[in-house]
Every structure is written in structure tokens, then in C-alpha cells.
Amino acid sequence: MSLKIIESCVNCYACEPLCPSKAIYMSKTHFKINAKKCTECEDDFAEPQCASICPIEGAILDALNVPLNPPGSLTGIPPERMAEVMAELQAH
């Protein structure tokens, strides 16, 4: 069992110092989680620490590749609205 950070990570450093298992490390393009070390914070905290501070929706996935912070959950922007605005911007 382990979480995974994907390429939408913006390298903000917020998660790395919080990890009780020292499982998070910086790599070339973005931060990553060492699957062998990650405990999902089980014995240490009620919530996975990395996912609790990460500001980027969709950057951290669980073992089933489901984002812990799905679209809209952190920014409050409804995903439909985001899609609409992005389409509008691209049309220009």
C-alpha cells in the first residue's frame, strides 16, 4: 500500500518535511514517494500528511490510482466551470 505523486506536482516542497516515514523525495521533474517506505501515515496520523497539505488537485493518487484530492475539492472551483473557462481561453 502506498500513495503516488504524479507529474502535476508543482514542486512546492510542502509535503516532503511532513512525511513521518521519510518516504517523499525530490527527483528530477517532481517530488516522488518511495512505495517501500510509505505507510499511508497509518500509525502516525489520521490522514495521509502529504495529501492533507498538497495544494494541487489530482497530484497524489492512492494505490488504485484514485486522486486523494479530486478536482474541485481544494479550490472549490466546480470542474464543469473550470472546463468551460479553459475552453473559452483556448478559443482565443
Binding site: Y13, A14, I53, P55, L74, M82
Partner: protein, 496 residues
């Protein structure tokens, strides 16, 4: 020629006595001489010092412990810097190197700030290592830090150990109801806390941090982002409270929110305030406290005088090749700083004398007028209309001249190749001058001259190289003498 500037008294204490720099004698009287001294050559705090001294920021602290609706963490802290531009993130070691390189090459640089992207106090190791080393290796540089305040109470003790005399706290509200509309979540005690509950904790920590800093004698400035329909009505109350608690300056900044920034406000179509709304709010808050009006919302790695950014001269690869003898630089800096301080003091004294003379003169009874000024610094009208990236807005009235704000424009004249676009850009520039009745600059071309006149803004190039306040008052008097300004009754003025 008289030099009418409001509320200028002779600088008896050697401190800054100009209300236009946000620090009247009255407000400074509860501060020690030591702190007064700190304010007077700080470009961000002293309205006249920013014409002479430079500042720089380094971005060392990318992590943040809250989310603001005006921020998209893919870019920068929209609150402290221009969104959409990613600042150069430095390690503490690089930040120290860069600071010393800049200080040696731009001797007017007096202040190093750590602000966004991120919250410096959410990254205490990186931030404090930078501060610790700079207080030792470059003791002639003032340090300041900007924070959202969540981690502030825990950091006050450490902050007080370094060369830090200024802390900026961004406080957008004192009411959790309002806060919930600005902050979707905070990270607190190992949990993400959403909504009103999170906002309440943030507000408590901000207020506690403010009180603790004041108790330690550390100068506190409060920044607020004005968000129409969210906290605009509430900010006068914020201003009152933070002043009561001892913050020495309140800086209300306009919300910047464009859809392409990808922020909640940008995407949801929340608008920013227009210049008139911002000015009205700044005026209503200044009843309680002097407002900072020359803030440029610099980006997190800006270098140079306010309103300019020389960051490109100091990229990391350029710095690596520079040899810095900081001891020698420090001596050079000292001589230059002294000369600037003397010049500033003599100008301040001259202004004060002129203000006394003006007070003794017979008063006009005409209405106030807004004027725009193109300047590249030193308090002079020394810029071509077409080269101005921003205009300073002054109000002239029978009471004298006061600085109101700056308004940014885009360069409309970018050379022959781009001249096809010139017209629309010029129109845009003219639109940013809305509400002004004259624009003073060193020169104006024919085309803009006509367009300005059509827009009801009188172009004026007659006061090139003159001190701004003098020229603004001279133009005001000409307008009054030419019968262009209606009379205002005493009653109207008293209520204005």
C-alpha cells in the same frame, strides 16, 4: 515657488514626519528612535525613500500552509507578486549569494524581503537559514518577511533574534464568515481544515502573531487584498483593529484576478476593484490610519527600485561568475547611503518650510483635481509620456498636494515594428488615466496629445525636470486662475 505638501512638519527628530510616507509624528511617537530610523530609508514604507533606495526579494520558501482564492500555486503568490510569472526559486545558500551580489552592485539596495511564492513561515528552515546568515554576513541589510500569519506565533521568538525589523502580515478579514469566502482551507495540526473553522483559526493566529510582534518592538505592516463584494465593506474594520493593536501601516491592495491565472476568483469571474473604488476604500481607512499608497505589488524575486525589476542582471548563472568583496562593498554602501540620507533630509526640510509658507498663504476655494505624473524617480517629472509604464496619481486641492496611488499602464510605444498596435495601446493608457484632468510629463507626442485632449485630460510638458509636488500645485493654480475649476463652498469642503 511654494511647495505645498500636506502635513509636512520640519523633521525635528530626524525621523520621517511626512504623512505622505505613511508615518506621521503622531503614529511614530510610540515607537523608539531606533524603529523610526528603520522606517525612514525603507523604500517600501517611506513614500519619499522609495525614490532613492532599492529593495530586493528572494524566493526561498515555496510551501504554503493555507489556500487563498486569489492564488494558484502553479504560479506565484498572487498576493505578493505578479501572477503567471514563476519566480526563480533559490536555496538559502543561493539567496545569500544573490543578496550580497546585488548589494555590492546596487549600493542603494537597503532591504531584502522574503515573501512568496509560498509562506516563508511555513518553510521556517529555509527562511531562517537565509536570515541567520545574512544578519551575520551582511549586517547592513535590513530584512523583512511577509506571511499569511498562520505559523506566525510560533515564529516570533526566532524572528526577533535576527536583523528583522519589519514583518508584513496579510490580513483580509477578522470575521470567519468573510474568511470562509477567501480561504477554502488551512493546514493546521496535521489536518486540512476547511471553511469557516479553518478561517477562524487563521484569524486567531494572525491576531495573536500581530500582538506578539508589537510586544517585541518589531514593526508590523498589514496587507489586505480588496475583494469587491467579499471584504471591501469589512476592511475599514480590519484597519481599525490592526491599528489599535499597533500595526504601523495598512496597505490595501487591489485583487488581481484573471481567468488565465486559474485562481478561484479568476475562474469564477470575481472582479477586482477599479481605481476609484480602491482609492475610496484607502481614503476611508486612512481616517484610522495612514495608508500605504505606493505599493507596487512586486513579484517575489524583484530587484531594484520600486516599480522596476533588474532581476535579469542577477540570475544565478551570472552571480556565480561575480567576485564579491563584501567588506569593501559595505564601506562604499555606507558612504552612498549617507549622501542619500542627507539629500533626503534637506529635501524634507525644504518641503516642510514650503508647507509652512503655503499654510500662511491665502487659500483657494476651488475643488480638488486629480493629476497623473510620469516619473522615473527622484521625485521629478522626468519621463516621456510614451515611455511611462505607470503613472503616479496626485490630488491637488486648496489644502495642498497629496499622493494618491500609482496606476500601471502598458508601454504603447514599443518601436516601429509594433506601431500597428499603437492606437489601441494608447487608448488603453488613456483609459488608465480616467478621472485625471491633467497629465504631467517631460514630453508628449502629437498623437497622444490630441487623444488626451479629446479625453478631457490636459497634457502638460511644461514642468519637465521640476519636483512633482511643486509642478502639480503650479498647474492647479493655473487651472484655478483660468477659471477651469468651480468654487467649492466652505461647507462642502468641510464635509469632503
Amino acid at each position: 515657488m511654494e511647495l505645498p505638501v500636506l502635513n509636512e512638519k520640519p523633521a525635528a527628530t530626524g525621523g520621517c514626519s511626512a504623512s505622505s510616507c505613511g508615518t506621521t509624528d503622531d503614529q511614530l511617537s510610540h515607537l523608539s528612535d531606533d524603529i523610526r530610523e528603520k522606517v525612514q530609508n525603507h523604500p517600501c514604507y517611506s513614500e519619499d525613500a522609495h525614490h532613492y533606495f532599492a529593495r530586493m526579494h528572494v524566493a526561498v520558501a515555496p510551501a504554503c500552509n493555507i489556500q487563498c482564492h486569489y492564488c494558484n500555486r502553479k504560479y506565484d503568490c498572487a498576493n505578493e507578486s505578479r501572477p503567471g510569472v514563476v519566480s526563480e526559486l533559490l536555496t538559502p545558500d543561493q539567496a545569500v549569494k544573490k543578496t550580497m551580489a546585488v548589494a555590492a552592485n546596487i549600493p542603494q539596495m537597503t532591504v531584502l524581503g522574503i515573501a512568496g511564492p509560498g509562506d516563508p513561515l511555513a518553510n521556517p528552515e529555509r527562511t531562517f537559514e537565509t536570515f541567520r546568515r545574512l544578519s551575520e554576513e551582511a549586517p547592513d541589510i535590513k530584512l523583512c518577511v511577509s506571511t499569511n500569519g498562520l505559523a506566525l506565533p510560533a515564529a516570533v521568538e526566532e524572528l526577533s533574534k535576527h536583523n528583522i525589523d519589519h514583518v508584513t502580515i496579510t490580513i483580509n478579514c477578522v470575521d470567519p464568515e468573510v474568511g470562509a469566502k477567501i480561504y477554502p482551507w488551512i493546514f493546521w495540526e496535521n489536518r486540512r481544515i476547511k471553511g469557516k473553522k479553518g478561517a477562524k483559526i487563521l484569524i486567531e493566529q494572525q491576531q495573536k502573531g500581530l500582538e506578539m510582534l508589537v510586544a517585541k518592538g518589531i514593526l508590523v505592516k498589514v496587507n489586505s487584498v480588496m475583494i469587491p463584494g467579499v471584504n471591501d465593506k469589512h476592511l475599514a474594520e480590519v484597519s481599525k483593529i490592526v491599528k489599535e493593536k499597533g500595526a504601523f501601516l495598512h496597505n490595501v491592495m487591489p485583487l488581481i484576478a484573471e481567468a488565465e491565472h486559474g485562481t478561484f476568483y479568476g475562474v469564477m469571474g470575481q472582479r477586482g476593484p477599479n481605481p476609484e473604488e480602491l482609492q475610496a476604500l484607502q481614503d476611508s481607512c486612512s481616517g484610522d490610519m495612514n495608508m500605504m499608497r505606493h505599493c507596487r505589488q512586486c513579484r517575489a524575486d524583484a530587484v531594484g527600485m520600486l516599480g522596476e525589476d533588474r532581476g535579469d542582471e542577477f540570475t544565478m548563472d551570472k552571480i556565480e561568475t561575480m567576485e564579491i568583496d563584501y567588506q569593501a562593498a559595505m564601506e562604499k554602501r555606507k558612504v552612498i547611503h549617507q549622501a542619500i540620507t542627507e539629500e533626503m533630509n534637506s529635501k524634507r526640510a525644504a518641503k516642510a518650510t514650503a508647507a509652512e509658507q503655503f499654510a500662511a498663504e491665502e487659500k483657494l476655494t476651488t475643488r480638488p483635481v486629480l493629476m497623473a505624473v510620469a516619473t522615473s524617480g527622484q521625485g521629478l517629472i522626468n519621463m516621456h509620456f510614451g515611455h511611462a509604464k505607470e503613472f503616479l496619481i496626485y490630488e491637488a486641492s486648496p489644502e495642498g498636494v497629496r499622493f494618491i496611488s500609482h496606476r500601471k499602464t502598458e508601454l504603447y510605444c514599443s518601436g516601429d515594428s509594433a506601431c500597428g498596435e499603437a492606437e489601441t495601446a494608447l487608448q488603453r493608457t488613456i483609459r488608465t488615466l480616467e478621472g485625471c484632468e491633467a497629465v504631467l510629463c517631460s514630453k508628449v507626442g502629437y498623437e497622444p496629445w490630441d487623444m488626451l485632449e479629446q479625453a478631457g485630460i490636459a497634457p502638460n510638458g511644461e514642468h519637465a525636470m521640476e519636483p512633482i509636488e511643486e509642478a502639480v500645485m503650479a498647474v492647479y493654480k493655473e487651472m484655478a486662475a483660468a477659471g477651469k475649476l468651480e468654487e467649492v463652498s466652505d461647507q462642502q469642503r468641510a464635509s469632503a
